[in-house]
């Protein structure tokens, strides 16, 4: 739900920017964003290949601005068993801990390895939500663009303490009660692992992209990346920290490229 909201907001922003004349200021900002992005990637060798790939400027796409955008769609098949993080043995507890929900680990993220020209236009960012419910982050995977603010409401009756020590965004929201929320803005691309300090089995991923060309799979593993300019792209599927090999797909003018993945 959160991702859908964010995507619709992004679409609106893209429409607005496409309608606007190509002002010099916008171009300069794009150039600055791109340059700082490349610098960040080069300064941080530990950053995942994900960030580097998503950051690379596209030289592949040189299609005319007037070309009609297309889409990439397909399915991600998971041929591996990924288990949710278990609770540490509650040896010191006086009784059985409360039951908890298990996160949905079947959702994958599919994204363009190299973004088309214009992908780094300034993004004011929208809002997304990662709830804390029955000792689980919901959704377990969130894919957003840079500039997005993520709300972390607490829907449990007890405290949670959301934090991350990931390099793209470190934060610690402290302990807060049910009905309260705290938010974090994500300005740098990369993978952010989110945890709860109180419940060590709670974890989630936030994938922050510097471009809008990504999609989350549905329950059956299907995905569709919309509004992709015509051209040939490298595409990657990602699930629970494991990226697939890059696959190539061509998006025809106004058409759809089909691409399936298998993650082992």
């Amino acid at each position: 739900m959160a991702a859908i909201v964010t995507r619709s907001q992004r679409k609106e922003q893209r429409t607005q920017s496409a309608a606007a004349p190509c002002a010099a200021l916008g171009g300069l900002l794009s150039l600055l964003a791109f340059a700082s992005f490349v610098a960040l990637v080069s300064l941080s060798p530990a950053r995942s290949a994900f960030a580097a790939r998503s950051a690379a400027a596209s030289s592949q796409t040189r299609s005319a601005a007037a070309a009609r955008p297309g889409a990439i769609r397909g399915r991600v098949e998971l041929r591996r068993v990924v288990s949710a993080a278990e609770r540490r043995p509650t040896v010191g507890d006086l009784g059985t801990p409360a039951a908890r929900d298990l996160p949905d680990l079947l959702r994958s993220v599919v994204y363009l390895e190299s973004a088309p020209r214009g992908a780094f236009e300034t993004n004011e960012g929208g809002h997304a939500v990662m709830d804390q419910r029955n000792e689980t982050f919901v959704p377990h995977v969130l894919a957003i663009t840079t500039g997005t603010t993520v709300d972390f409401p607490n829907s449990d009756k007890f405290y949670h303490n959301v934090f991350s020590l990931s390099k793209p965004r470190t934060f610690d929201l402290g302990r807060y009660a049910a009905g309260h929320t705290r938010d974090v803005r994500f300005d740098r691309p990369g993978i952010v692992r989110v945890f709860c300090e109180i419940h060590s089995h709670m974890n989630a991923f936030i994938l922050v992209f510097s471009h809008p060309f990504f999609a989350l799979t549905d329950a059956e593993g299907r995905y569709q990346i919309d509004n992709v300019p015509p051209g040939t792209y490298g595409v990657i599927a990602w699930n629970e920290g494991t990226p697939s090999e890059t696959k190539s797909v061509t998006v025809p003018d106004g058409g759809t490229g089909e691409l399936d993945f298998t993650i082992r």
Binding site: S83, P89, V91, L165, D172, G174, R175, Y176
Partner: protein, 421 residues
């Protein structure tokens, strides 16, 4: 000395292995390992601590005042501890939980091993049988090292008093002469071998018995019947007596936990009673009684905890030597600590604890004094998460002891590395 050198070398190796190679640490598991479709879960923790007593003539000597010793050869500020925990779920009603531990690469000890039974899955009621978590108090169930914001332990749970369950002083004068020597104490009645005394409540061993726990709204109630006492948990009973312990905990609002505990059980071993009183005497009123109150409040970036424990040991009165006075009153002790933790930024926190342990007066032939030397401890420090599950703690600890035959002041600088999965 040789043993200490060897331990230091092992400690250095563990520290190097964990800290010098963050890349290697990343290869280690970061979550509990689960198998058999999640029915078996295994986790672990490695803790390496090195502390130096700051003395004018030696900037890094071991604890000469034995303030942080947990037995006669083992300081909590110089240890490598490896823990392994496992939970085996056998259906919705039964879970076997265990924790094994080795300190300074000595024998592996079963810290906990018990069966948790949930008779009705829909009700918050559990029965635990075996070597079970302590019913009494709050601190001893914080099994994981990152549950303790500092490196040292609260005095009530660690500091060794001069009371022993298997050996007894002949008189008040003999007890007063031993003040501050709880790390290695010897008496004229009972077991003649010098060993450590007991803390008020031990955090290093768990008792064996049956425990029941129920949750009713904001009230948690626990009761247990076990072999030993809070200061001297046992696997094999040494006096055919049983301790009864209860705890009531209230959680009236988010972040607030208020608990009160009570425990009472035969403390002195049958062998020591017979040595003191002769004949076939067994059991009797030679008990340890303990009352405790604890409070925790947390919100935002801080956690504050306070705990008070009062306890009394009743010892049999042995035949008192001439010109000495007998111990006629229970030996009382009272300990109170308050601690706080505040997070400065992601992965970095500061913490402090103030702690006092006092003892009741007894009358000897030459003086009336607290039966053991009172101790005050202040500790400040902090922790930094090198990774989510790799934490470096640093602390400064100041101890002051009022009387006794050992060193009366000691300050320590300590570092601790904790890795867990």
């Amino acid at each position: 000395m040789k043993r200490r050198g060897s331990t230091a070398a092992r400690l250095a190796w563990v520290v190097w292995a964990l800290a010098a190679s963050p890349a290697a640490a990343q290869l280690l598991p970061s979550e509990p390992i689960a198998f058999a479709d999640g029915r078996v879960t295994v986790s672990g923790e490695v803790l390496a601590t090195y502390g130096c007593e700051l003395a004018p003539d030696d900037l890094c000597r071991n604890d000469q005042g034995f303030f942080n010793y947990t037995d006669y050869s083992h300081s909590a500020l110089r240890e490598v501890r490896i823990d392994g925990s496992a939970a085996v779920k056998a259906g919705p009603h039964f879970t076997i939980l265990t924790e094994v531990r080795t300190e300074n690469f000595s024998d592996v000890q079963p810290y906990a091993l018990y069966l948790r039974i949930r008779p009705w899955t829909a009700r918050d009621f559990d029965i635990q049988v075996g070597r079970v978590p302590p019913t009494f108090g709050a601190f001893a169930r914080r099994t994981y090292a990152n549950d303790n914001p500092l490196i040292g332990y609260p005095l009530a749970y660690q500091y060794l008093t001069t009371v022993r369950p298997d050996a007894l002083p002949r008189s008040a004068d003999e007890l007063l002469a031993k003040r501050s020597t709880g790390w290695l104490v010897r008496y004229g009645v009972g077991n003649p071998v010098p060993v450590q005394g007991v803390p008020l409540v031990t955090a290093f061993r768990w008792d064996t018995g049956v425990q029941g726990h129920a949750v009713m709204g904001i009230v948690n109630v626990t009761g247990s019947v076990t072999s030993g006492t809070v200061s001297h948990p046992l696997f094999h009973d040494d006096n055919d007596g049983r301790q009864i312990a209860t705890r009531v905990e209230l959680r009236p609002m988010n972040g607030l936990v208020a608990g009160t505990s009570f425990a009472r059980g035969p403390f002195v071993s049958t062998a020591a009673i017979r040595a003191a009183l002769g004949g076939d005497t067994a059991g009797g009123p030679y008990t340890q009684t303990a009352w405790g109150g604890d409070l925790e409040y947390s919100r935002g970036y801080y956690v504050i905890r306070a705990e008070t424990i009062w306890t009394a040991w009743r010892l049999p009165i042995a035949e008192t030597p001439p010109r000495q006075l007998p111990i006629t009153e229970p030996l009382n002790a009272l300990s109170t600590y308050i601690e706080g933790r505040y997070k400065l930024r992601p992965g970095l926190y500061i913490a402090a604890r103030y702690d006092h342990l006092g003892f009741s007066d007894i009358k000897g032939a030459s003086a009336t004094l607290p039966w053991d030397a009172p101790v005050t401890r202040a500790e400040v420090g902090g922790g930094y998460s090198l990774q989510r599950n790799l934490i470096l703690k640093l602390s400064y600890q100041r101890n002051v002891r009022d009387g006794g035959v050992l060193l009366q002041h000691a300050s320590f600088l300590s570092a601790q590395l904790v890795y867990w999965f």
